[in-house]
Symmetry: C2
Subunit: 266 residues, 2 copies
């Protein structure tokens, strides 16, 4: 489990936009229970090699926004009034499970933007606690502080939105969970021209099109299509980590595989 | 977060029945996010004072049974083929949240006994992974190894069952979450005469009957009614911990307040 510094400040410079990845793993995380592959064996012993489920925090000016909630120690990281908002890509448990204990306690009320998914997850809607759920519409942009945010549909097994952030001429697209991209999202991104793409890549190269999540082949195709200055891979599974041990240097220079607790500043 | 020794053995003596409490807190746990009470301030610093959500493991002969799943590190504690079964009292997230990452990985198939709650929690039914869900009927007893288990209805805001374990003439009733007891469960327990009662006690003494969980007053009434040799309090909230700091010595000798990672052997 990652560190528990409360309300950690990621970047002290106002004129920047930072993203810290609290969790970069898929639903089972790394290590996978019961797995004796080289990656999982090492991750059991070395916490630095572990991957919690997806979660990130972005910071700009005085704002701090949580992006999904796959990690379990949120109450130790973000005390009362320390978050401007929460953005949820979708309601699969590995993206919201950290909210179950987090929603209780505190007198703040946190705007929690989410897709229009009537099912939600567990009793989050019924007993929201400090979470003030707000429903997003695809392509209907909104602002948090001075950051323009456009939600874009993704291709997944549950209604899912990616988020396109624009701040001080930097454009960052956060695109997980997805397998490929819906045509209208592709068209928007072609027009919008992201500088940075954070994208779901759960699997090593597959022989056939994977289900629900990208593999390396699909991510490389997307990279060639959009040519962002930087592409960051997240939602990593242990089999991809195994493949990367032998092949990471074959990836284009513009592509990086993120690790838990890494911060990128733009 | 509690220790992560894999497949830890609790008791090496075959002829005993042990229960280890992995989590003894209510849904927010201790500390509560954003709380500056004396208990929460101390628990932020001292991990021994923390309470994760409800979870216990019982061991007898060669069997190890998980009882609810409120803690998040189950995959580090219980590797492949290390659990005989899982018993779920109900599907509130604080009792099943640890199953979300745990269900993926491993080639075992774990019998997971649960109340007949069609809703479940999140996508646990849809994507059970290694969990083999089996539906329980109130008062319809069953065996795991040589232990006789009788599920009994509890009084809670979601369909909930307690579990009465009988092994080598020791009778242990695990009764959380509940506020009071349904009449038929009371009658069964009066007939069955438990030696040990593990019972939900979330609150300090309240002026009016509490909702969904017992307070100290109700637990004392139950203790007087059944006179078990031992009563163990679990599902503790931070306000009860605060009250206990001044009043724990006033409780009858037969009542103990459990802490995370404590083991009792019978």
């Amino acid at each position: 489990m990652s560190s528990t510094e409360e309300n950690e400040s990621i970047a002290n410079v106002d004129a920047c936009f930072s993203i810290k990845f609290l969790g970069t793993g898929n639903a089972p995380g790394v290590p996978v229970r019961g797995c004796s592959c080289d990656v999982c064996i090492k991750a059991k012993v070395n916490k630095d090699l572990r991957r919690e489920s997806c979660c990130a925090v972005i910071e700009f000016a005085e704002h701090r926004i949580l992006l999904d909630a796959g990690v379990f120690d949120l109450k130790y990281r973000f005390s009362e009034n320390s978050l401007s908002a929460i953005l949820l890509t979708h309601f699969h448990p590995d993206h919201v499970q950290g909210l179950f204990p987090f929603r209780w306690g505190g007198n703040d009320r946190i705007d929690t933007y989410a897709p229009n998914d009537k099912e939600g997850c567990g009793d989050l809607y019924k007993n929201p606690g400090v979470l003030n759920f707000l429903t997003l519409t695809a392509f209907a942009h909104f602002y948090i502080g001075e950051v323009l945010i456009t939600p874009v549909p993704l291709a997944h097994s549950k209604i899912t939105l990616g988020f396109c952030f624009e701040h001080l001429n930097v454009k960052i697209a956060y695109l997980t969970d997805t397998v490929g991209l819906p045509k209208k999202t592709e068209a928007f991104l072609r027009y919008w021209e992201p500088d940075v793409m954070v994208i779901d890549c759960a699997f090593p190269p597959q022989k056939t099109r994977p289900r629900n999540h990208n593999d390396i082949n699909m991510v490389l195709t997307t990279y060639e299509e959009f040519k962002p200055k930087k592409m960051l891979l997240t939602h990593i599974g242990h089999q991809l980590d195994l493949w990367l041990n032998a092949h990471e240097q074959e990836l284009p220079d513009g592509i990086s595989v993120v690790r838990d607790n890494e911060t990128y500043i733009f």
